[in-house]
Amino acid sequence: MAGRTDTGGESGGEGDRETASRADRPAVRRARRFARRFRRNRLATVGLLILVVFLVVAVFPGQIAPQPYDATDVPDRLEGPSLENPMGTDRYGRDVFSRVVFGARVAFQVAVLTPLVAMVVGVPIGLLAGYYGGLLDDALMRVMDSIFAFPTILLGLTLVAVFGQSLTNIVLALGVVFIPQFARITRGSALSVAEENHVKVARSLGASDARILALHVFPFCLSAILVQATITAALAIILESSLSFLGVGVPPPRPSWGGMLRVGKGFVSSGEWWYSVFPGLAIVFSVLGFNLLGDGLRSVLDPRTDPDR
């Protein structure tokens, strides 16, 4: 069976596969199906690989970076890329590569925590609004719209300015910025599934609203939420970089890609391109990774694009 699925037989194998997998637990079958479809989606796989690299770097920066991020070497400042400093050095002689590596940690924290914060608030709001509809829906969604109406950067900037400049506050501020998106996307899914027959049937058989929300509505929304989370992760990286670029990001000396870009941009015209290009590339690739993964998940999780059927 494994051989068959690996070759990705588009036709014929369906029946065998069903019978062969009958003995498995449903969760195992579902996971296997997901893995099969995911592998077939090249871009998603590329995105995942990028993110795995990103994750490893973010978790073990100390092992990967040749120098500490704050080790200065003033005589060697503003050196171009070399064997010793593969991405050159900055204006204090710090190794740009090491700083990019340590910057990954900040970026990754922001990328993971921001969607989480937004989800924890936005998803319940969306579930309630979509499932119950009516006045509750109107009220909740108008609040969401008013948050949505602010330009994201401006809102993030304001929140950080008010609450102070720290990683926690940045994550919280960005989380707030993205709440409406999760609320909206969850509401859309909840709205459509609430009209489904099986929800009405569950209700006709005595299931409580809480039960229906937990067992039917939320699982249905999950794939859309997941896709939104990956896209939000990418946006969070960009936003955090933007905040840092504007000088209200993660406070120095912790290296943040946006902060490096901010300083490095002043040296582009004088020829020290590596100062800003490498942090910029780090941003590009991490964002690309999340976006590819998000797009991939979108098509893998959407039954309408099922290549098996």
């Binding site: 027959n197 049937v201 569950a202 006709s204 058989l205 005595g206 039960r211 249905f220």
Partner: protein, 410 residues
């Protein structure tokens, strides 16, 4: 307008069944002297015999309105009773309000307004809190709907959803609920129930999905099973299997069955009593033998003529015209614009009276009562009428049934 018209039908339902509510002073709605031909009898003749046995479900003037840009009365003042172990069918065209009428019973109408009274074991359900209704859904009244595959969440296994239905109304451990779910699957005739437990709904065939949906409806051990077009969309051999299953379940579980279908064949095979619904109202009710053997209401007759019969070659007669717009229903009898026997100035005036016929107790009615009652709401059988005595009844009086009596095996 809707507040006035259904009075006739309603009062009779109550007076005849000896319901404690509203059984005085309204008896006159059907003229007691409305009997001329041998088929009719006085309305006060029988019916007092079951007053001791409380009905399981008692519906009284049930009305469901939807407020869209216009007010739509999907169900307009229907009344009936259902006793433990009874089988009752509701037939009618699409849009007659059959489904809405049963969804209204347990508060499953979201955006409409339900008025009237629905008593379940003496407890009023119209306007009852969701908590009360939830307790009755599933464990008191189970429901099966058309298109069974859609009854299941596509991303969950069939087994887990039946377990969930068991949990919703019974306090069992996970293991016991799982065992119960497998038993239920077996009871509804699914081979290898333990093996199919972990299958997803799309892995079930249409007939199997309907069986599984029935299993899910049985999970709460309901006293009444409401089946809304349970065989529609299934092919005929599968239909027969589902009909047999219902028959077994009703017999073994001593459950009441309220079956809704536009398919008279299915209803007549399963239900001892049948009500014919047209445009939100019940136009005729009686035992299956009465209804199929001597249908009285012109609509019932037209409905029967439009159903194909395997044994007898005859031309099908479609019912001319189309069902009325429920936002603006015709005055008087709602069927009159399509009725071959309609009398201008009579049928389009006041609501027609409900007349009772005496071709009753011929169907082995256990306990008698509602099963004996054959009623049609039509001027054709009325002796007196609001229009005075000088109206020409020749057309309406010419209604007679020449159709075959379908064979019904008990």
């Amino acid at each position: 307008m809707t507040g006035r018209e259904p009075t006739d039908t309603r009062t009779h339902a109550t007076t005849e069944t000896g319901s404690p509510r509203a059984n005085d002073a309204r008896t006159e709605a059907v003229p007691p002297d409305a009997l001329t031909d041998g088929g009719r009898m006085d309305g006060a003749g029988s019916g007092g015999d079951r007053a001791d046995e409380a009905p399981l479900l008692s519906v009284e003037g049930l009305t469901t309105r939807f407020y869209a840009d216009r007010v739509i009365s999907a169900v307009d003042g229907i009344s009936y009773e259902l006793r433990a172990g009874e089988t009752l069918g509701i037939v009618g065209e699409s849009g007659a309000g059959k489904s809405v009428s049963v969804r209204s019973l347990v508060g499953l109408i979201d955006e409409g307004e339900v008025t009237g009274s629905v008593e379940w074991r003496g407890q009023e359900l119209v306007g009852a809190p969701t908590r009360t209704l939830r307790g009755i859904r599933g464990s008191g009244i189970g429901m099966v709907f058309q298109n069974a595959e859609a009854a299941f969440d596509p991303i969950e296994t069939v087994g887990s959803q039946i377990v969930e239905a068991v949990h919703a109304s019974r306090d069992l451990s996970n293991q016991a609920a799982r065992a119960e779910a497998i038993d239920l699957l077996e009871e509804v005739g699914i081979g290898d129930p333990a093996g199919r437990f972990d299958d997803y709904p799309h892995e079930y065939s249409g007939g199997m999905a309907q069986r599984a949906a029935i299993a899910m409806a049985l999970a709460g051990e309901p006293d009444l099973l409401i089946a809304d077009e349970p065989t529609t969309g299934l092919d005929v051999s599968v239909q027969a299997g589902i009909v047999d299953l219902f028959r077994e379940l009703v017999a073994e579980r001593e459950m009441s069955l309220l079956l809704i279908s536009h398919d008279l064949g299915v209803v007549s095979q399963l239900c001892r009593r049948i009500m014919v619904m047209y445009a939100g109202r019940i136009v005729e009710r009686g035992s299956r033998k009465q209804l199929l053997g001597s249908p009285r209401h012109p609509y019932t007759q037209a409905f029967l003529r439009s159903v194909p019969d395997v044994d007898e070659r005859r031309d099908l007669e479609p019912i001319g015209g189309s069902p009325p717009d429920l936002a603006d229903p015709p005055a008087g009898c709602r069927f009159h614009p399509r009725c071959p026997a309609a009398e201008a100035g009579l049928c389009d005036g006041a609501a027609p009276p409900t007349v009772r016929f005496a071709d009753g107790s011929d169907d082995g009615a256990a306990g008698g009562g509602d099963a004996d009652r054959h009623e049609a709401t039509c001027y054709a059988y009325a002796e007196t009428h609001p229009g005075g005595d000088d109206y020409d009844r020749s057309a309406v009086a010419s209604i007679e049934w020449d159709g075959a009596v379908p064979e019904v095996d008990e």
